[in-house]
């Protein structure tokens, strides 16, 4: 059992316990503690990348043995940990300067920390039941965070999340039970061994995988299970929208789908599930992009854009070739950075102007130059414009689809990318360019503390795009090799 990754869960969980007690004595201390723990986690995960190679080798050696250790780490897990701690840190840092004070903020930071611990648990486990338990940690804390504002909009978003997330959890749990009945265990290795060896009841395993796929698609917010996404993102506090869109849906849904897809490609006779994943991925790309085109509220636009971008990741993971996996993994990381940037900047715009209605905005470029600059970088990266990071991941996905024989899906992905560029150009023009209107006349740039996370994330998009070969060699190739 690899206990080396347990601190990634324990440290945020312990900090979550300490924070409410510390809050009464010193509020800045709680904020510093939260940022420090997440910062340390990020550094540890970054340092852990070379170490993960060794862990990954152990995992691959153990894949054939039985039983599988419930906790393990490979390069893909480590990459996910980097993403989780990066976005959580950005969210906490932004919260320090933006979320109003009061007693509840003690719980607020603790909830973010416990959500981070839950996400770390999901990506470091090798067992479906343990994954389910940690998914519930993420679900309970996310529910509380979405409803945190306490207004009717927040409660509505949280309830929608709960009503779709609870059946998803039930489906996953039912899948775990079926997996246990058919393979004699709940670990990834049981599934891998039984599916690859042709053992167990194929219909039973297929049913379990189908239930997993449905459950994880709800958690990922894929079409047609996306009903909760726009309301949840729209109604939660801005840093929470960034956290949800940036990483929570990736960990709770997309990560498991990518892992599952790998097992399916290794085993003969389960192609129907991967084909279904590709179909729902493509459907999400198109529906998300089309729905984003007609939104007036920019937070809802970003939510539909997230649905579309998650579709790219699932479509690519469903194809399952090494190149497609590279694209999926890279886009997962990229989407976390650019969507977190956009949600945080969206909050800055709302704070400065008091509205989220794009028809009432205009000319903010001169009033909020830093917010505008980082937003433009994130827009262009999402739309796949070179040399930004999003360009590379989309290019890899489209080429992988074409080379992998899914030419129809490649064309859909390409056309949807043009749609993405279209709706982001509309958003950009309406909010940041054009004439200054009454709502934006008195707007001022937000505090430097609120700008720091978005500037760092935007810089990452540029640097990763420019140094793509180096990043690919350091981070992505090992992660993909760990999956195969």
């Amino acid at each position: 059992m690899n206990q080396g990754l347990v601190p990634f869960i324990l440290l945020p969980a312990l900090a979550a316990v300490i924070a409410p007690f510390l809050w009464r004595k010193s509020r800045p201390a709680v904020e510093s503690l939260s940022a420090l723990v997440l910062g340390l986690g990020l550094i540890a995960a970054l340092i852990g990348i070379p170490l993960a190679g060794q862990l990954g080798a152990e995992f691959r050696a153990a894949r054939g043995s039985f039983p599988m250790p419930p906790f393990r780490g490979d390069e893909f897990s480590t990459l996910m940990l980097v993403t989780i701690f990066l976005i959580s840190l950005a969210s906490v840092f932004y919260s320090i300067f933006s979320v109003p004070g009061g007693e509840k903020r003690a719980s607020y930071y603790s909830l973010i920390l416990i959500c981070t611990a839950g996400m770390a648990g999901v990506v470091t486990t090798g067992d479906f039941f343990t994954m389910y338990v940690f998914l519930e940690v993420v679900a309970v804390s996310s529910f509380a965070l979405i409803a945190f504002s306490g207004d009717s909009e927040g409660i509505e978003g949280a309830l929608k999340y709960l009503f779709l997330s609870a059946p998803a959890s039930f489906l996953i749990l039912l899948g775990v039970a079926l997996l246990f009945l058919n393979t004699g265990g709940t670990s990834f290795s049981h599934l891998f061994q039984t599916a690859a060896g042709g053992g167990g009841s194929k219909a039973g395993i297929l049913a379990a995988l189908g239930l997993f796929a449905c459950g994880f698609m709800v958690k990922a917010g894929l079409v047609p299970f996306h009903g909760w996404v726009p309301d949840a993102y729209q109604s939660s506090p801005a840093p929470i929208s960034a956290l949800l869109s940036g990483i929570v849906t990736k960990v709770a849904g997309v990560y498991a789908l990518v892992r599952m897809s790998m097992f399916l490609h290794a085993a003969p006779g389960y192609a129907s599930v991967t084909r279904a994943l590709m179909f729902f991925g493509a459907l999400s790309i198109v529906v998300g992009a089309l729905a984003a085109m007609v939104q007036r509220d920019f937070k809802r636009l970003l939510a539909f854009s997230s649905i579309s971008q998650v579709g790219y990741i699932v479509l690519s993971a469903g194809l399952g070739t090494p190149m497609a996996l590279l694209g999926a993994t890279f886009h997962l990381f990229n989407h976390a950075t650019f969507k977190a940037t956009l949600f945080l900047n969206g909050a800055a715009v709302e704070r400065a102007t008091g509205t989220r209605d794009m028809t009432q905005l205009g000319g903010l470029g001169s009033r909020m130059p830093w917010t505008t600059g980082t937003s433009v970088v994130a827009f262009l990266s999402t739309a796949g414009i070179p040399p930004l990071s999003g360009f590379w991941s989309k290019l890899i996905i489209i080429v992988a689809l074409w080379v992998g024989g899914a030419k129809g899906y490649a064309i859909i992905a390409l056309l949807a990318s043009i749609l993405t560029l279209g709706y982001f150009l509309i958003l950009q023009r309406r909010i940041f360019f054009g004439k200054v209107v009454s709502f934006t006349e008195g707007a001022e740039e937000v505090a430097a503390g609120m700008l720091l996370p978005v500037v760092v994330l935007a810089a990452l998009m540029v640097i990763i795009g420019l140094y793509f070969p180096f990043i690919c060699q350091l981070l992505l190739d090992p992660a993909v090799k760990a999956l195969l």
């Binding site: 324990l10 719980s107 648990g121 338990v133």
Partner: protein
């Protein structure tokens, strides 16, 4: 046999209390205790995996979720006074249970005769602390998340 009977009575009693209590917090806790009794029965019947999952999901997760949900209800609805009339029904339910056991008790005892006792099977401790220890870590995190959610909702009044 006496252990099974004791656990069975506890299961029935706390399940009934979960239905009878008007105070939803007490009802949720009763349901959690009933789940613990069922967990022990499953352990005693040599089904440690099922027992572990029952403990994790029903006694842990579901109870926390119920308590979290109850915490969002207004205080005046939460602390309703218990009426005696509802509890007066309890002896009747137990009478029904006793009558059922009178008729089917022998068959129950015969069925249990071949079952192993707690001491004969895979150690519960080994299963919980060695094989599924990380589930327990996850459970603790869920309980913590539930408590923090309650604090977030109740703490609002003190802002």
């Amino acid at each position: 046999m006496s252990l099974y009977l004791l656990l069975l009575v506890a299961l029935v009693l706390f399940s009934l209390l979960a239905v009878v209590f008007r105070n939803m917090l007490l009802a949720a806790i009763s349901l959690g205790v009933a789940s613990v009794a069922l967990t022990l029965i499953l352990f005693a019947l040599s089904a440690p995996w099922a027992a572990t999952f029952e403990l994790s999901v029903c006694a842990g997760l579901i109870t926390v979720l119920f308590v979290s949900a109850v915490s969002m209800i207004r205080k005046e609805e939460l602390f309703l006074k218990e009426g005696r009339a509802r509890f007066a029904l309890l002896p009747f339910f137990f009478l029904l249970f006793g009558i059922g056991f009178w008729f089917f008790g022998d068959r129950f005892a015969v069925a249990l005769r071949g079952m192993p006792t707690l001491g004969e099977q895979v150690g519960v401790g080994i299963l919980l602390w060695s094989v599924r220890s990380h589930d327990l870590l996850g459970q603790l995190c869920i309980i913590l998340a539930g408590v923090l959610a309650i604090k977030a909702f109740f703490g609002r009044g003190r802002d």
